[in-house]
Subunit: 652 residues, 2 copies
Amino acid sequence: MLRRALVGKPIHNERAAGTVLSKGTALPVFASDALSSVAYAPDEIVLTLALAGSAAIAVSPWVGLVVLVVLAVIITAYRQNVQAYPSGGADFEIASKNLGRPAGAAVGAALMVDYTLVVAVSMAAAAQYLAAAVPWLVGRQTYVAVAGIALVGLLNLRGLKFMGRASSVPTYAFVAVVLVLVVTGIVQDVTGTLDAAPSAGYDVLPTTGTDAGLTGLAGAMLVLRAFSSGAVAVTGVETITHSVPYFRKPKALNAARTLAVLGALSAALLLGVMYLTWRTGAVVVMDPARQLLIHGHAPGRDFYQVPILGQIAQAVTGADSVGFAVLVVVTVGVLFMAANTAYSGFPVLASRLASSGLLPRQLQSRGDRFAFTNGIILLSVVAAAFTVVFHANVNGLIQLYVVGAFFAFTLTQAGMVRHWLRGRRLHTVKATQREFVLRLAVAVVALMACAAVFVVVLVTKFVQGAWLTIVAIALTTVFMRAIAHHYRAVDAELEVRPDTPIRALPSRVHSIIVVTSVRKPVVRALSYARASRPSTLEAVVVDTDRSRTEQIARQWEELEIPVSLTVLASPYRDTVGPVIKHIRGIRRKSPRDLVIVYLPEYVVGRGWERFLHNQAIRPLRTRLHYERGVMIASVPWHLESVRERQLTENSR
Amino acid sequence: MLRRALVGKPIHNERAAGTVLSKGTALPVFASDALSSVAYAPDEIVLTLALAGSAAIAVSPWVGLVVLVVLAVIITAYRQNVQAYPSGGADFEIASKNLGRPAGAAVGAALMVDYTLVVAVSMAAAAQYLAAAVPWLVGRQTYVAVAGIALVGLLNLRGLKFMGRASSVPTYAFVAVVLVLVVTGIVQDVTGTLDAAPSAGYDVLPTTGTDAGLTGLAGAMLVLRAFSSGAVAVTGVETITHSVPYFRKPKALNAARTLAVLGALSAALLLGVMYLTWRTGAVVVMDPARQLLIHGHAPGRDFYQVPILGQIAQAVTGADSVGFAVLVVVTVGVLFMAANTAYSGFPVLASRLASSGLLPRQLQSRGDRFAFTNGIILLSVVAAAFTVVFHANVNGLIQLYVVGAFFAFTLTQAGMVRHWLRGRRLHTVKATQREFVLRLAVAVVALMACAAVFVVVLVTKFVQGAWLTIVAIALTTVFMRAIAHHYRAVDAELEVRPDTPIRALPSRVHSIIVVTSVRKPVVRALSYARASRPSTLEAVVVDTDRSRTEQIARQWEELEIPVSLTVLASPYRDTVGPVIKHIRGIRRKSPRDLVIVYLPEYVVGRGWERFLHNQAIRPLRTRLHYERGVMIASVPWHLESVRERQLTENSR
């Protein structure tokens, strides 16, 4: 009952498979991941540069512009990708088909890792915004983030409720609020009424090693680090390419158009926020206690650093204004939707990987609630683990996320370069060839951009956590390839070949009923066994308790049961061994015969009753599976409680 | 492999059942619980009295004497009990037979709760002694105690290794060391060379509410509280009565003699320690920071309160002497053995309760490793939980333990009073009657003593944690009675009555093979099904994927399989529903027929492979169990890895 309450009714398969969204609904559902990065990407750029002191922060608008260029390149490339591979296999399919199965597995692994990090990053950021509005939550961000993950997880266990029209509200609200904020801020700036951000007057102390500002190699590295952190703004576009099957027809074209709109929106929001960051002088740092001086003093114990977007809202609408509260609400909303996106994307990806034999086959059917449920639980648990390990520190989690995302981007674009090269060679018509060259050029530029970011991220952030992502991806890849290898080996082993004897039958059938008490289920097992007319039929009782054995023998005689009862000695009170020994004796005499063991099995109506029945027979059942030429026949017996439960369910 | 390494090889049943110990070995094994209480019982008396200030502590020897009287009464009573009920069912059996099943269940529940508390108390006390010797452990007692529980648990999972002769060493060593200590101390006292305890010069401040000393009602309550805390010295004697089956013949007589020796030893140790406590002026308090003044100052941060027995060792042999170190080692050793005793007693009790239907039946066989393992894990987890909740505070845990123990004692003695009353009535010979009256008198005195302690404990300690024990016992009792009720209902439901049709057979047998791929396991299932010569035989394939269905149909034809293949439509990609619908169709036409569903089942050699197979078929199997007139036939197919594993195992 508890499970039902938490998990909800089974999904109708048709619903899962057949959901189709218009562009206007698909955009907010699948773009929330990409759009929500406006809530943390600017912070990443500023706080990385702030390591070199106040002056260095001035560079941040330029870093932001470079990020926008990368965004434009990647969006352009992905619009082509979606149309070339419209099945929703996306990055995984592109890498597999063009670079081979190992590369495909690596991309699949990277995407799986990234889905968990999207959840962790989004909920950590949401906790940061909530704490900015509700001081009581300061210092409790980890709990808030984990609670958020639990909430999204539970809602998803109850079905994809968030794919309806209601789900577009948080994303549109966020976009609208930030746009209004940006436009108001720019108007205020032009009219000279824009306030400075609360943090504009703080002194930012350079940290050791970077006290020379942005000069020299250390300075260059810091700018690169800031850029690669800001590149988190680009991540999330791949979600749309995974979701092509959810779009209306023409699916690929609609998805490509949505991508263009997403790119334009992302760029506009990011540009506006970066501009206002510069104009309001908003500052964030990694470690306020050591890096900030407020009017010459270190920040007090109750100092809490509001994220950039929040600071801009405070500058534009006032520190404790309704505007600030509204911004926090819509930001938390869009971050929640971003996490939710990962939950709807994860099973799709898992199903795709399972079809390729890289994950257990049962994940293949998205309608399989068992697998679906386990996938959601796995995603939640790993995301929560990341959150706890990093104390819900957004900056720390983003390092991991960017590495994984750009690893996948890079491999995918490498695959696309190969794809267009191949396509050009296959086509002989000049005009088509020219088109291919154009697309190839886009792919090459995107590959270079992605590779550049990936290398920068890897080099500048390896020690800060990027290694963890690489290890996670590597382990997942090895794991998936082990699964694939196993499935291939089993396929070869089980293949029916021309020499497989199809018409051969066991010579005779020996039926055995294991009796532990003379009760109705045994009587039923007897009648089922007799109905199958075996060559021989015997009941066996293992003599672990003399008085009980005698009682069974007595009842057997009294009831005149028309089957012989064999008592198997068991000096060591072992219930399994004597039965196995007996069966082996039969098989030794006639190895081509079949032995059927009938086991009465109690079916209970209430979960807890399960622990009270069938336990004694379980070791025997397991052991029997390892015997050759033995078939196990379960004879179910429904206890009263089953009937009661069925009646209750029918009357509902 | 990990499991095997941690848990060890299966126990040979004969070993578990046939272990028999001489009195000299049984005493240390089963008495460690009772004897080890010398390590904490005196502290309980002193620190309770110390609540009323320094002067009140002078009463402690007298309180100790009353505890000794109770000990003598209970030992005498239990010697009778063991001989009257020599089967090892002990308290549970006595209460069930004389007071009825509900009382028996309550006693069983109390004993189960007490076993977990013995483990928690013993390991918490051991941590206290270790911290007295190794200052680094101060403040880390909870970790130490939990680690100790984990260690005893793991050792027990590996089998009852501690029942050999080696296990007598810690207990004998403890007894010897404490006896030497007591004798040396008394000699020093007589010769006037006995040092004062380190704490003898401390001022003990009375706490609020008790500043009037031991006068008035509050004072009387405090003395009663001290007495009931000290009564923890009496607990543990019941362990021997549970262990009668482990004794050599004449079992009951040997157990009774061992009890007498135990009583004498306990009394001697306790008397000696209480005497030296008085003579050395050793003091312990509940909260040193608030209650102690050392040379007029509150104790410093690094102050650690050494338990009484440790303080006596310091007074007799010197503060940092080898003697003190030896005492700590042997005390930790005996406390470890006391916890171990609970682990060996718990499965015996559980098996006894299971025989009476109060616990799941599979617990009945002590040789069942599955149940045995789970019992040990349960005991460890609950004991660790108690330890963590009470921060390994011995005083807090003892409150819980004493309540449970005396609850069981009281009910048991009430049962024995009834037993002797009944016996007297049954016998007409005068001499025998007189004997019964004598035994009855002992039982009545013991009942009164136990009831008195129980009431005192309950009244004086209800808020300090005693309520928790009562709740735990009540919940366990309710739970066990629910199980018993369920088993009785099922027994009635399943009973074969004269009108049960024993010779009736299903009219016809319809066999169905569910095909998901044309591979060797399906071929085998087909041949097994055909060997049983059913009335009808058909293969069904659920059409969830058009191309796969067509492939199966094509292979079916090519291989000329001599069984018809039915394709079941599944517009919603549901794999289970169409099969159930098909079966219900057959059953509707002829309700008296039997349907056998053949399911190929993959048997794998490596644990992780299990997740890669059989998963898709599992929901169908579960669902089929709820259909009437359906039998499920598992056709095992052994993958190569099984053969590899069997080869490896045989070559070992």
